[in-house]
């Protein structure tokens, strides 16, 4: 990591920029405020009812990790979407590519830098997240699994941000495409399942009416597996399991129909994390390919004219 020139330069530049401290300040302020409000409401309730509800502290954990998850989910593309296209806009990308640095080293340097920023955000939030240990109910192992999920989600978001950044000439276009893909992962995978299932349901209902049978339960078919790429669903699965409440996860799965998916549901977290890492690797390879001269962009003739 230390040997990568791009990573070292990014660290030097970001250490001088106000951007990272501001992101950390806002990130931790939101977490701290959420923790404070939750604890305030619990203690106020104790004053009124003289009853301590320990489940409220687990809710605090769910609430805080949820906020942290979504903040990471939305911050990571912002950190990476402009990184390569920004170099292109500043006309420094060609300078780097004309040196002995390979496109893979450039992409890796950018990735490491964004992952380091993610690590800073997560580690700086530990004091607030660890409030839950004051009351118990969550083990260190649970937090380790959550951390693994954060890393895989950050890796995925950073990778598609870098990929779009490598393909787009403008940072604004790269950012728009990154957030478009993010929305697809978050809502699109779910919407596709609901949509396909409702189409299938309509078809089966027509058939059932014609032959005088009861409507049978339809499902979304292979589109169900798209849900494995939905980091939010995997997050619900991880945290739900830790606090003993999988209602939301089950509800979302059921909305995509009846699937013979018992073993898959059981191994949802490792399979989902594995798929996300694979997808991230695919995006990184595509980013490297986009920066490799042999890939060429022959349709953009005006850019290369003397």
């Amino acid at each position: 990591m230390r040997g990568n020139p791009v990573y070292k330069r990014e660290m030097t530049i970001s250490s001088r920029s106000i951007r990272l401290p501001m992101i950390m300040l806002i990130f931790n302020s939101i977490l701290a405020l959420a923790a404070f409000l939750n604890m305030y409401s619990v203690t106020t309730r104790v004053e009124v009812t003289a009853e301590i509800s320990y489940s409220s502290f687990l809710q605090l954990y769910v609430f805080l990790t949820l906020i942290e998850f979504f903040m990471l989910f939305f911050i990571m593309p912002a950190l990476t979407a402009g990184s390569i296209s920004g170099e292109r806009e500043k006309q420094t990308l060609n300078l780097m590519l004309s040196t002995q640095m390979t496109p893979a080293q450039i992409v890796l340097g950018k990735l490491l830098s964004s992952m380091f920023h993610m690590a800073l955000l997560v580690v700086s939030s530990f004091p607030v997240i660890f409030l839950v240990f004051v009351y118990g109910g969550i083990r260190l192992r649970d937090l380790a699994v959550l951390l693994l999920l954060y890393i895989s989600v950050a890796l995925l978001c950073a990778s598609f941000g870098l990929c779009f950044s490598a393909f787009c000439r403008r940072s604004t276009a790269a950012t728009a495409m990154s957030y478009g893909f993010l929305v697809f992962l978050l809502l699109g995978t779910y919407a596709v399942n609901v949509f396909v299932r409702s189409i299938m349901q309509m078809g089966r209902a027509d058939y059932a009416n014609q032959v005088g049978l009861m409507t049978s339960q339809a499902d979304s078919g292979v589109f169900f597996y798209l849900l494995l790429l939905n980091p939010a669903l995997t997050f619900y699965r991880v945290v739900g399991e830790q606090v003993g409440n999988l209602d939301l996860f089950v509800q979302i799965i059921e909305e995509s129909g009846n699937h013979p998916s018992g073993p898959l549901i059981g191994a949802w977290v490792p399979v989902s994390i594995g798929l996300q890492i694979l997808l991230a690797a695919g995006f990184l390879l595509a980013a490297v390919r986009a920066l490799t001269p042999s890939s060429g962009r022959t349709k953009r003739k005006k850019k290369y004219l003397s």
Partner: protein, 319 residues
């Protein structure tokens, strides 16, 4: 040092390079000129590994440029037409970053950076932020950056664009100094008067093909031969006109204020004999000289009217 053979590159239906062939000798300061869209930047991007060629071969220092990219890039220093600087990075850090891109680290890199910054006159600015430097300083910094790994071939793409005349002159002196130190330099520029003064060789490219290349002195001598002979007559204009009309090497004559502009196809010997005939005929002459050619006039001649006035064979012009 650099040999290009039948280089082709198309963008869609547009032929940016259409069989470009050229050679840059070791130690040359090669001016690479051509009108906009001629294919200069495309050629340079292919040489620096930023663009892949469709066809053709390139050898740099005897090595296939499309082979081991790392080895080839080690031999090339590239200065693009833009500065390419980072905000929040100091001059020293900028240089050290590019040194590390070539695997130079630690004390060795620092020494090399200091040496180069001194050479380009930026030793006092090592702790200045790069984006705070003037255009001229940024250009010199870019040159120092391109030299960080001690390349044997330096490629500059329009390096003087946007610089004031004083800075351009300083930059030109710097390039001449580097050339004298043994660096082979390929420079693409639109400022032909500068190339005229500093280049040892020149290549003119148009529509993706090399239309004229060779040693600068030889080319300029040929250009001079195509220029008119200027004769300032003080007395006996009629006799002068009679002699010129009867001379076999005279093609055209025009008169303006006792000054004759003569299209003369003869060589230096013929010029001497003509002058002797005029003197013997008691024509009083104030001036007798070939009009000096310039790279601009040659460039305009070739790129504007090459099909009418310039016939090419075996890469050499016949004017």
């Amino acid at each position: 040092m650099l040999r290009i053979e039948n280089l082709k590159k198309t963008f869609g239906k547009y032929h940016a390079l259409d069989g470009l062939t050229m050679e840059v000798k070791q130690g040359a300061l090669y001016g690479f000129v051509g009108p906009n869209g001629a294919g200069k930047t495309t050629t340079i991007k292919i040489l620096t590994g930023l663009l892949a060629a469709d066809e053709g071969k390139v050898w740099i220092d005897g090595e296939d440029a499309f082979g081991d990219a790392r080895r080839v890039k080690e031999k090339i220093g590239y200065v693009p037409d833009s500065f390419g600087v980072y905000d929040n990075l100091k001059v020293r850090e900028y240089m050290e970053f590019f040194a590390s891109c070539y695997g130079l680290e630690g004390l060795m890199a620092r020494k090399r950076c200091s040496c180069l910054l001194e050479q380009v006159g930026l030793e006092e600015r090592t702790d200045f932020y790069v984006d705070g430097l003037s255009r001229g300083m940024k250009q010199r910094l870019c040159l120092a950056r391109a030299l960080i790994h001690d390349p044997i071939l330096l490629i500059l793409d329009e390096p003087s664009s946007g610089l004031d005349p004083k800075t351009r002159r300083e930059f030109k002196e710097l390039l001449t100094e580097l050339n004298e130190q043994g660096k082979t330099i390929l420079i693409s520029s639109h400022i032909l008067s500068e190339l005229n003064q500093m280049c040892t060789d020149i290549g003119i490219i148009d529509q993706g093909r090399m239309i004229l290349s060779g040693n600068m002195k030889e080319i300029m001598a040929r250009v001079d031969q195509s220029n008119p002979l200027m004769i300032h007559v003080h007395r006996n204009m009629d006799k002068a006109m009679a002699i010129l009309r009867s001379h076999g090497c005279v093609r055209t004559i025009s008169i303006k204020d006792n000054c004759l502009s003569v299209g003369f196809t003869g060589d230096a010997q013929d010029e001497v004999l003509l002058l002797q005939r005029l003197i013997d005929a008691e024509v009083l002459i104030r001036g007798f000289y070939r009009q000096q050619g310039s790279l601009e006039s040659l460039f305009m001649q070739i790129t504007d009217h090459k099909d009418k006035e310039v016939l090419l064979y075996e890469g050499k012009p016949s004017i």
